[in-house]
Symmetry: C2
Subunit: 383 residues, 2 copies
């Protein structure tokens, strides 16, 4: 209930310093790391004037400023201590970025990495830095990372959605930390940045329909934190917790494509795509799907590899399409048919929203457009 019992944060922090302040009678350089006060007294000015020399926030004579800077140099003072500055300003300059998984998995997803890159590029000029906050490492234990409870941050960004009852989201709300959610859905008190998943997927489905495909299977992203893998029956389709697989499925249906099979994967990885291909494409030619739509490019490339393994030609025997628009060098010379999303722009949009929230504005939710890219992995339905 309270969550205040020392959750480890104090292991290294709370022990204080064993440092004993020596009386220091003379003007001799002190033994601890110099502070602004030391610099000021060495330069023969007041602390406030010394502060001005560094911050530039106020009138100061050039000669005085130089004297302070010289004193700082001779004392080995390397600028104002960020901790003091932060307490005073009430801002830490830190953007907490919550990734939805352990890093090693979350960052195998190029989309997440590129998004993060775009975000960093945008907020660096604002003087902000990114604190990485891993999501729940084990699927069973939805505990929030201790950093969510007690790290200093001015705002948080959640990569990959999150539902309204997400414990991380709740903890952040309790702390009064504003949040930007990437690909969220139905969230209140939170700014959302996303793409037009549904429309993009509908375009892709229409493309396949126009090519004459009538038996289309689909390979989805995880439905929720339980991350199952395998064919999903009707019941399972009811409990899709995360919004991206939901919206991308809906897009298919929007274009009149009712998938003959839905294969759920535990993660967006090549190997799971290959497993899906083995499960979906093993049947005889008459009943086998003529096209497979994957909800990510990594899954799609796994499907391509799996299909080849089964001796099927792409796209002559089976068409394969993905979603994201990544570069997939190991598929060369093939080019995946996919829906290209503007990942770097999305990161920038998130960064922009972060900046505006911190500036006191309340930006609108944003939905970025996507574009169908037809490659060489889709073709007319066989016969």
């Amino acid at each position: 209930m309270c969550g205040y019992a020392d959750g480890g944060v104090n292991r290294l922090l709370g022990t204080g310093r064993a440092f004993t302040p020596q009386p220091e009678s003379g003007g001799v350089p002190v033994s601890h790391r110099p502070t602004l006060a030391d610099v000021a007294s060495a330069a023969g000015v007041s602390v406030s004037t010394a502060s001005l020399a560094f911050s530039g926030a106020g009138p100061i004579a050039d000669a005085t400023k130089q004297r302070v800077l010289d004193a700082a140099a001779s004392l080995g003072y390397s600028g104002p201590n960020p901790l003091g500055r932060q307490l005073r300003s009430g801002k830490s300059g830190i953007v907490g970025v919550v990734v939805g998984d352990a890093l090693r998995r979350a960052f195998r997803e190029p989309v997440a990495v590129q998004l993060l890159d775009g975000l960093v590029d945008t907020i660096t000029p604002l003087g902000l830095g990114v604190l990485l906050i891993p999501g729940p490492t084990s699927p069973e234990q939805p505990a929030v990372d201790p950093l969510v409870e007690s790290a200093a941050m001015d705002i948080a960004v959640m990569l990959w959605g999150g539902t309204l009852d997400d414990p991380t989201l709740e903890a952040l709300a309790r702390r009064g930390i504003p949040v930007v959610v990437v690909e969220g859905h139905d969230l209140t008190d939170v700014v959302t940045v996303g793409i037009d998943d549904r429309g993009g997927m509908a375009d892709l489905a229409a493309h396949l329909r126009d090519l004459g495909h009538e038996r289309v299977a689909t390979v989805t992203l995880p439905f929720g934190p339980d991350r199952r893998g395998g064919l999903a029956d009707t019941a399972r389709l009811q409990d899709i917790a995360w919004s991206i697989p939901r919206r991308r499925l809906d897009g298919l249906v929007d274009a009149g494509v009712q998938p003959v099979a839905v294969y759920e994967t535990p993660a967006s990885l090549v190997e799971h795509g290959a497993a899906a291909a083995r499960a979906l494409l093993a049947g005889p030619v008459g009943s086998r799907p003529t096209a497979v739509v994957a909800q990510s490019d990594l899954l799609a490339s796994g499907v391509v590899l799996g299909a080849r393994e089964l001796g099927l030609r792409v796209p002559e025997d089976v068409s394969v399409a993905g979603f994201d628009g990544l570069d997939l060098p190991w598929l060369a010379p093939d080019v995946l048919t996919t829906v290209v999303q503007p990942i770097a722009d999305k990161g920038a949009a998130v960064g922009l929203a972060v900046g505006r929230i911190l500036a006191g504005e309340t930006p609108e939710d944003e939905v970025l457009p996507v574009a169908l890219r037809t490659g060489t992995t889709t073709g007319p339905a066989p016969r």
Copy 2:
């Protein structure tokens, strides 16, 4: 020279708060975010007692503690402000992790990601968090990120080496921030964690030699920040700035393998490996190398793909080996011959070193062992 002119950090931070503190004559709940003092007065105890209720660092009666916690709950106080705590303790609980490149590139490297993951796993229980600090984005401009100059951090970790004159390393030294360098070399005042590149590569070279290979080419990681791509002549071999390509080259020679060609890549990516294969393996069978050793698995898998593109069979026509020991699902069913390094252990070792330094100890440099894994991509030299 000074670097103190506001480098952007103040864009959002230094503006202070436009908040005007209302006089507040009664005991009415105040309008700003409640502080420990508010909680204390609401609970009818002193601030110090209230502090004890949260930190547990001292004797406190259960009833009192409960009263404080209740008051906190009714005021919406969600725990001590980390900024105040940090200033007092002098610790930020932040580990700055300097990646050697823009994130989107650095994190295409699975080794970096897994290492980071291992590091995070290790330091999370210590109450520490990772602040991401991108390296120089453009190769021309070796400016250090503003975060290096002025972000709060207790210690920094540099992924991927860095030389003694690295401006980032200099800036951190000036600030008095301790540093752990991954795969560094010849560095003073810094703890280094690395692997036995040279020995591992020597083992691999011996393996190829034993298979009868006499014409061995090698594909290397970037030599330095200029990141050229192409065949390296003798002159170019002199200015290898970064230590990993250097040591891995040396390892080959240690085992008596003098490479017939050295192809330098601008980054450890599949596509550069493929390009290397096209450059190295295009010649006639008599002069063509019979084996290619890449300095990373991503490069090696590019070489395999490039070789196949040229119509060469692996390993019948050409043997290919890598370094790192990654899972490469898209190479299946082939298994790359490679040198396996304990990446997660390396991350844990870095985390451990971080913890010990913060605890006041001075850990030794560490060199982790590697192991040769022979797969299906190397075989006897053709005839």
